[in-house]
Amino acid sequence: MSRFYYYLVMINMIANIISAVPTILLRYRNDGAVLSLIVGIILGLVIVIVYTKFFNAFPGKTFPELLVQTTSKWFYYPLLFFMAVMWFIAGISTLITYSFLLIRYLTPDIPIMLIGLTLILSIIFGCFMKTDRVLYTIEIVFVINFPIIIFIIIKAYTSKNLNWDFIREAMLHVVQAPNIHAVSSSIFLFLGVVNLVIFNRFFTQKQNFGLKQIIVLVFIAIATTFTTYFIPIGFHGSETVGELIYPWIATSDSMRMRYFVIERLVYVFLLLYLSMAFLSILIHWHVAVELFKYIFKLEKMKFKGINIGYIILIVFFTVSSLYIIVSLTEYQLFQYSKYFFNIAVVNFFAMIFLFIYIIRRMKGANKKANES
């Protein structure tokens, strides 16, 4: 598999550490979160494998192109629109979470409107780049940040304050029946693979996707999920951890670099996750922008050589996300995230049936092409 594929999958997993996922999981820590995690890993891997195999069968083709070939207009326009909105919201949820984080921890004296605007403006123009350039950006930023991620993880696992008894105790809850919200939010970690709907355009050659690649994915999946859920418990204890709004920020604030220029790890963590959130939003919104472009044929809306379609989209993205940032509270954010995760997971499972249909139709189409 190309390394860029792993970036797509991993960025979503890593970036969601700061989103609502760990908060939701930890809220259900006594109501079946552990078993939900296990179920989530299995179902998430199913999604990853099915999506990868499906898009691997049609190298270089995006999902809209496949839909056009196999289904009719009344079906694929609403579906694509729905997906575009979903991906736009996925980007917004990361954006809002990070705006809240910034105003709470790093720049409390800057108005939230300005913070949101800075974040949006720095990302929105990148979403209109070509797909390969988006992937190159992801690679470079990821490679620059990767040593810091490894450092933080090692620091967390070797910290004296990490109490393994808390983790063992939390594991005992494995017997409780899984909870739907916890399952869907842990599946959401794996939904980075859905970005292939547009990014498959980049993988023009058939990729090698066999057992070796799946084992790597399983390893990544288990490691990330375990770290996301159990490390905060190990630091804060299973009783109090549920009261934290941002469990991972509090966790990183529990670590100290005694001899370094920056003493509190939380600031390294915040700036690191600023780049991760940046990448996550960039990926999601790139997919959303491409889908919107496809639905409304934005390339053709030109006035005196200036592409109005793009400007409309940029204004729409900026204004609507600013409105949501200003109007939403943290509590609402978590409630809505929960429902968003549920809808996303159900939707992307349902799409597997659509894939089966598309594969059959494509076979028929290929046969027809061969006969004629």
Partner: protein, 447 residues
Amino acid sequence: MSSKVNLSWIASQFEDKNDLIQKKLELDHKQITVLFIKSLIDQELYQKYIINPFFELPTQEQFNLYLFALPQFQEVPSKEKALYFVMEGNVLIEIQDNLYSLDFKLSKNSDVNSTSVETTIHGSELALSDNLMTNINVIRSSYHQPSLMIEYFEKGEVNKPKMALIYDDKKVKRKALESIREKLEKIDMQVITEAPQFNTLLNDQRYSLFPKMLLTERPDRIVYNLAGGKVILLVDGSPQSMIAPVVFFDFMTTMEDNYHTLAISYYLKLLRYIGIFVCILLPGIYIGAVSFSPEVFRTELMLTIAGSRMGVPFTSFVEVLFMLFFMELLLEASIRLPKAISATAATVGGLILGTAVTEAALASNIMVIIVSAVAISTFVIPVNEMAFAIRIVRLILIVIASIFGLAGLTLGFLCFIMYLVNLTSFGEPYLRFYNYRKGNQDSEGQA
């Protein structure tokens, strides 16, 4: 049309005839007419290869054969070409109504210079010369491949310098070559004097910050890049050459990297990349830490900085801009000044101003340290053009950091990376990681 008419046409083009010489030689049955510009040709060669044989060889046929055998011999297709040959320093010879040209160009600028911009400790100290033919000789004699292609052409309406496009036919990136040729066609300039002009002439975007071509004076870099499938542009009279297409990492390598042992060259590369990070980010970090989030760094450090800023009347933003401004002035001044004075300027500017500024409490001591660290790390970037671009990026990041603090600095840096990635140099992505694994088949395409 006879060659007599051609000769008189050429002579009539030079209205002021003091430099043009036209002579008719006759002896026994031999007869030739020569035409040349006195100041352009090598008179010794002329004497040795044309005059002497003319008087020594018994018949016209033998003289003709002799001329034909000379390596400088060339047929003349048209009268316009003949005019061009004369202006290039050739001697036109008319024999029995046929016109020939012999290249006896005298070039006083054909000495190879020593490197002045890209100096290294290891490796050759010799650079290109001002003469196109010498340069091509230098390149050809260190790149032995029959597939090395050299295309000559002229651009610039008025002065029409000879230029050469050099590439290895087997290795060159076709797409880039086509796009360079296409852009060369479109050039519309009156005067072209130096190769670096191509950087703007071949650039479609009017406002661009980063160089899309690499300027070099080192033959070893040219050979290295030819083997990498790149295209070299040379202009007669210019001791520098342009290389295209380039990627960001080309600007971060020196030729010396290949001459050191592996560990040393990796260490130097690491140093260089840390240098570029420091030079872009350090002023921004200072502003962000002092004015926005002093809690980020450890308390002792922030207390030291705050103590050092005691009595400084400005905010950190003004302080940084104030010091950077003088540093940039100093840099700019020391380039223009004669060498003898520039040392004084550096002393006055760097030492005296630095000390006086801190004593007058216009800037903190730490600020002076940061500014000098930034200045030094700018010099670490091996290619000058990139260093200039980076200086501008640094200013932009300082402004962003003074509005949004450390978070803004990080975002600005990410945007800077995104901007670089989005750039294209003749069809090649400007910044991306390449996979150098052996036998690596591209499993991705470009979308």
